[in-house]
Amino acid sequence: MSKKVMVNPRNAYGEALIELGKKHNNLVVLDADLSKSTKTIMFAKKYPERFFEMGIAEANMITTAAGLASCGKLPFVSTFAVFATGRVYDQIRMDIAYSNANVKIFATHGGISVGKDGVSHQMIEDIALMRVLPNMTVIAPSDAIQTGKIVHLMAENHGPMYARVGRADAPLIYEKKDVEEIEIGKGMIVEDGQDISFISCGTMVEPALEAKKTLAKQGINARVIDMHTIKPIDEDLILRCAKETNAIITAEEHSIIGGLGASVAEIIAEKNLSTKFLRMGIRDTFCESGAPCDLLEKYKLNENHMVKNAKNILKN
């Protein structure tokens, strides 16, 4: 088995900001004392005059970004997912979403694989919180290559957007050419199959690909969808999965309430699609400190649980 190439999506964000900073001289970046972790420090070093350190004062940071956007600036705002959403919800609601401000919130440290810092730093509600806001686009890129492309798309498309990546290094899934054509709001069929569809986002796409390999050995042919955009959700692709495969399993490093799984469930219900269906995610509980792999095992969010769930759902 070939060794996986691990690259941190956060670095891809930092690199993309530098490229975009050259291309768009109205691009500005704001951070709240976490630039070393979010990697906005890369932009800060290259374009110090367009980087605004806002200190540990996230509410002000979000609204300030909206003020900058009102003057034609293209602000990217970064901090950990927990502080980029829940802590500043009213600011995002009024000043970015309602005001339809061209502000891009790029959050890192989403999900439970943040690990040992525990619940205060493990954000499993952000996608739900952002998805419910009118005007807001919500994205969870899966690997570093896709992250780079998504950051470019965020800069090039007008309107409020939220994206989140995890903390950890992530195995590369794509080559550059694989993501050249991607669009916000259109999911990707990473691997095709006819028996079952895994619809995943973010850190859960790669385990789905691993699960596919294991299932193939047992005669089950799984389709793997990278649903990087949770809102607007790719309805057509969900319809196709329901029609062309026997079951759908969604997987996300997020609560099963309000996120990707809920989005897919809403489409299935409203379109009267008859398919077997299971949401994998955090089942309405706070998690705890621990090594990322231990957490993902305990909260049943890895390839082994995907294999088990796929076999069960197809059997029943």
Partner: protein, 285 residues
């Protein structure tokens, strides 16, 4: 000081009275809204929009315009009346405040009301927004000024103090904020609800240039705005000592009119009082 003659100031006072009449009529028709804090904010708005601010109502998005952000969004009727009188939209729109399918929302929205810079109404945001506008102005080396008005009770919001720190840190001398210091908030006197004094010392200690004046003396407001503009390397906070409900006898210092519109009798008395004041000013011209 302002270089303004008494006659000019009288004209501005006359505009202020007319704005107050609009406010009463708007709230009476809407059957909801906030008279007290709208009436207390009027004179500073007149000084800004009719004297100090560089603006063009025909080009509300001119990148070089001065900006005003009404952080105390519930004073929207005052802002709307000023914008209408200044020519941003027809005065007729004022009659449709808070009505379905109409432009003028209960609280300001920037996406479709000409002249409104920020969507406010949830307290504590406006100064942060002004920071963003001021930072953009510095970055682009533009010489526009940014103004913001906060309620005194509003400064209970933590975000205000985040913004205060950031504005001082970045030496935003293109930013002038004002506090409508009328001493009343919904639950009573500000000093009983959540003590604010010394307001001046608070802002000074955050690194702001502070000026305290009578918030209903338009000449003094213009002087203070000039002083603020000339001040370098610090943002300025002008504390406007005001009277909630200013201009209508039974609304003055009466917290019951924070968020309750006048009924028909109250509307009639208020309009009579304001018309009387209007005639008195007209006679001076």
């Amino acid at each position: 000081m302002t270089g303004y003659e008494a006659k000019d100031i009288t004209k501005l006072n006359l505009i202020a009275v007319r704005i107050r009449k609009h406010i009463i009529e708007m709230l009476y028709k809407a059957k909801s809204g906030h008279p007290g804090g709208s009436l207390s904010a009027v004179d500073a708005l007149v000084a800004l929009y009719f004297v100090k601010m560089k603006l063009n109502p025909k080009k509300p998005n001119d990148p070089n315009r001065d900006r005003f952000i009404l952080s105390k969004g519930h004073a929207a009727p005052a802002l709307y009346a000023v914008l209408a009188e200044r020519g941003y939209f027809p005065v007729d729109e004022l009659k449709k405040l808070r009505m379905i399918d109409c432009m003028l929302q209960g609280h300001p929205v920037c996406t479709y009301i000409p002249g409104v810079e920020a969507s406010t109404g949830s307290l504590g945001h406006g100064l942060s927004f002004a920071n963003g506008v001021a930072l953009a102005g510095k970055l682009d080396k533009k010489n526009y000024n940014v103004y913001a008005m906060l309620g005194d009770g509003e400064t209970g919001e933590g975000q205000v103090w985040e913004a205060a720190a950031v504005a001082a840190h970045y030496k935003l001398d293109n930013l002038t904020a004002m506090i409508d210091r009328n001493f009343l908030q919904i639950d009573g006197n500000t000093e009983d609800v959540l003590k604010l004094e010394s307001v001046k010392d608070r802002w000074s200690s955050f690194g702001w240039n502070t000026i305290e004046i009578d918030g209903h003396d338009i000449e003094k407001i213009i002087d203070a705005l000039n002083e603020a503009k000339a001040h370098e390397r610090q943002p300025t906070m002008i504390i406007l000592n005001t009277t909630k409900g200013k201009g209508v006898s039974f609304m003055e210092n009466n917290v019951d009119f924070h968020g309750v519109p006048p009924n028909e009798i109250e509307r009639n008395i208020a309009i009579e009082e304001l018309t009387h004041a209007e005639k008195r000013l007209e006679a001076l011209l």
